[in-house]
């Protein structure tokens, strides 16, 4: 039985037994290559689920939809490893109760899908450790990161200015990110207005910087923001750079477990300080 068939069966069982009220997974999209979020409530719905290499969206963001988990019932959700990290972070930040989440985990290697063993977020501790130890970017991404780091500050600024000039402030990056769950984003506040909402280059620069900062130590590098951006700004580079920083400076890898302290809400007395005069 293929992974897809196995998981369809599993989802159908979870739904018909009443263990979960909903399974969030992937369904066919508007083209053969696309997948879209599917909200299965019955065994019949479960038959439409897809589990394959095209299922790349991080669905954990849907778990914090207002009111979804307030009836204390369980929800099943298909997650890749970074999605499981997202659930851990959401739990650590008190946004959901991990006991309500039944994880249907899968991972992909070169187009082949394999199922992950475990159903509760805490079942995946070994996987989280392995992810921390084996962080490698794609070749293309690494090449671009190196190219940027080799630039002078002026060149780097010009590079990002050209990228951010494209931004249309659609906030797709924010909306698709499971970690961006604030009911009122900082950019939506106008008392005070910290960051310009207009999409001139300055406003775009400020927005993207603020979002990257608010994600530091929280981003799971699922790539959702990068894929969502309609004007192809390479957002994953910035978020990756921040993830590298918190790992190097504080040995922090987000999403290890549900009790992990957020990196910017905690400290060590001997945290590094190389630049403070």
């Amino acid at each position: 039985m293929s992974i897809q068939e196995q998981y369809r069966k599993k989802a159908a069982e979870l739904l018909s037994s009443g263990e979960v009220k909903l399974v969030i997974g992937y369904g066919a999209g508007s083209t053969p290559e696309r997948r879209r979020a599917l909200f299965a409530r019955t065994a019949d719905d479960a038959a439409l689920l897809h589990v394959d290499a095209s299922c790349d969206a991080n669905l954990s963001g849907y778990l914090v939809t207002e009111g979804l988990l307030s009836d204390k019932k369980k929800i099943g959700i298909f997650l890749r490893p970074e999605g499981i990290r997202s659930v851990n972070i959401l739990a650590a930040e008190s946004q959901l109760d991990p006991d309500q989440i039944v994880i249907l985990g899968f991972t992909e290697e070169n187009g082949t899908i394999s199922a992950l063993q475990g159903t509760h977020a805490s079942d995946f501790a070994a996987l989280m450790t392995a992810l921390k130890e084996n962080r490698t970017p794609s070749e293309k991404e690494q090449a671009l990161v190196e190219k940027i780091e080799a630039m002078t500050p002026q060149e780097r600024f010009a590079f990002w200015q050209a990228e951010f000039a494209k931004c249309i402030k659609c906030y797709a990056c924010r909306q698709v990110c499971p970690m961006c769950y604030c009911k009122r984003c900082i950019v939506d506040n106008n008392q005070p207005q910290w960051v310009h909402t207009s999409s001139h280059t300055l406003g775009n620069f400020e927005w993207n910087l603020v979002r990257a900062f608010h994600l530091s130590g929280r981003c799971v590098e699922c790539g959702g923001c990068d894929r969502a951006c309609p004007v192809n700004i390479p957002l994953r580079l910035i978020n990756r750079r921040m993830a590298n920083e918190v790992l190097d400076a504080f040995d922090h890898f987000s999403g290890m477990d549900q009790n992990q302290e957020p990196v910017l809400a905690s400290f060590k007395k001997d945290d590094p300080e190389t630049f403070i005069l």
């Binding site: 999209g29 508007s30 083209t31 696309r34 997948r35 879209r36 979020a37 909200f39 969206a57 963001g61 849907y62 050209a162 990228e163 494209k166 249309i168 402030k169 659609c170 906030y171 797709a172 924010r174 909306q175 698709v176 009911k183 009122r184 939506d188 207005q193 310009h196 909402t197 207009s198 999409s199 001139h200 406003g203 959702g224 894929r227 969502a228 309609p230 004007v231 192809n232």
Partner: protein, 337 residues
Amino acid sequence: MTKILLRDKLDDCLTRWHAAGFDVVGPVRKNNISQYATVEKADELDLGTILPDRTLKDLFFPQTEPMFSYRISKQKIDTEEYLPPGRQRIIFGARPCDASAMAIDDPLFGWDYQDTYWFKRRNETVIVTIACTAADEFCMCTSLKLAPDSTQGSDILLRPLGDNRGWQVEELTDRGREAFSRIEGLLEESPAQTAALADVPVKFDLDICREWLQNPENFESHFWKEISMRCIGCGTCTFLCPTCHCFDFQDEGDTYTGIRRKNWDSCSFALFTMHTSGHNPRSTQSARWRQRIMHKFNYFPGKFNMNSCSGCGRCTRECPVDMGITETLQEITKLSQ
């Protein structure tokens, strides 16, 4: 015998138009994105793309536009207006769906108030469209009763020649004729074999949809919740839609000086209808999605006899979660049958 414009004459056309005081704007691919931008030479134009990522509305309704600056002093408030640049432009190579969309927004921007910013630019711009010989799976102009060679909103329609050497010229308006009179000697008279137009299958029944939307019983239908469950409430579909026109005012400045700007806004945003009291009449994403569909295919046609959609398909093409109006209208068509 028809008028033909050959590709290899395009650079000379640009020279003539520049000399006559026109800026030339067209689809340009730069920095991983395709949009309408000013060009100096014909080879900067990317005329082979099916549809630029960004729309023609960027040129008439900029994403962010200063309206006036203000300075507050003890006795008074001084303001200084910002007006649109005032440049004659020829848009070369717009797609018919994009041009149709500008014609759809004209009655909107001239409805209860003549929007100076919109009309000044409209009156100074000539739109030259190129009919589509290729479409992708997201195009749906035909479902909106338009076509790959629609003339709505266009001043000149160019039909690609079968041998790809250029285009057959169809003059549609006086403004178009005037602009093309500048390149008179560069056009040829010859018989033309035009290329076959793109095949864009009809995806939903617009009349059935309108009827379903107009029925008050369907306003509270559970359909809205089901169809919009995965919508994440970003502004991609609204910002990349050539007909969407909502905007917000933002004063940027400090205590005594600043600039009032007009910025694109989106009905998909959660805070779009947030009242100062704290009440939000469209507090769920399904209510916001319903509004989007109702506005485009029920309220707007009720007012202006045109759907607020030209079938370009960008909403579905660009949506991060594969939504878009096509699926909704297809489902409504199915529901009604």
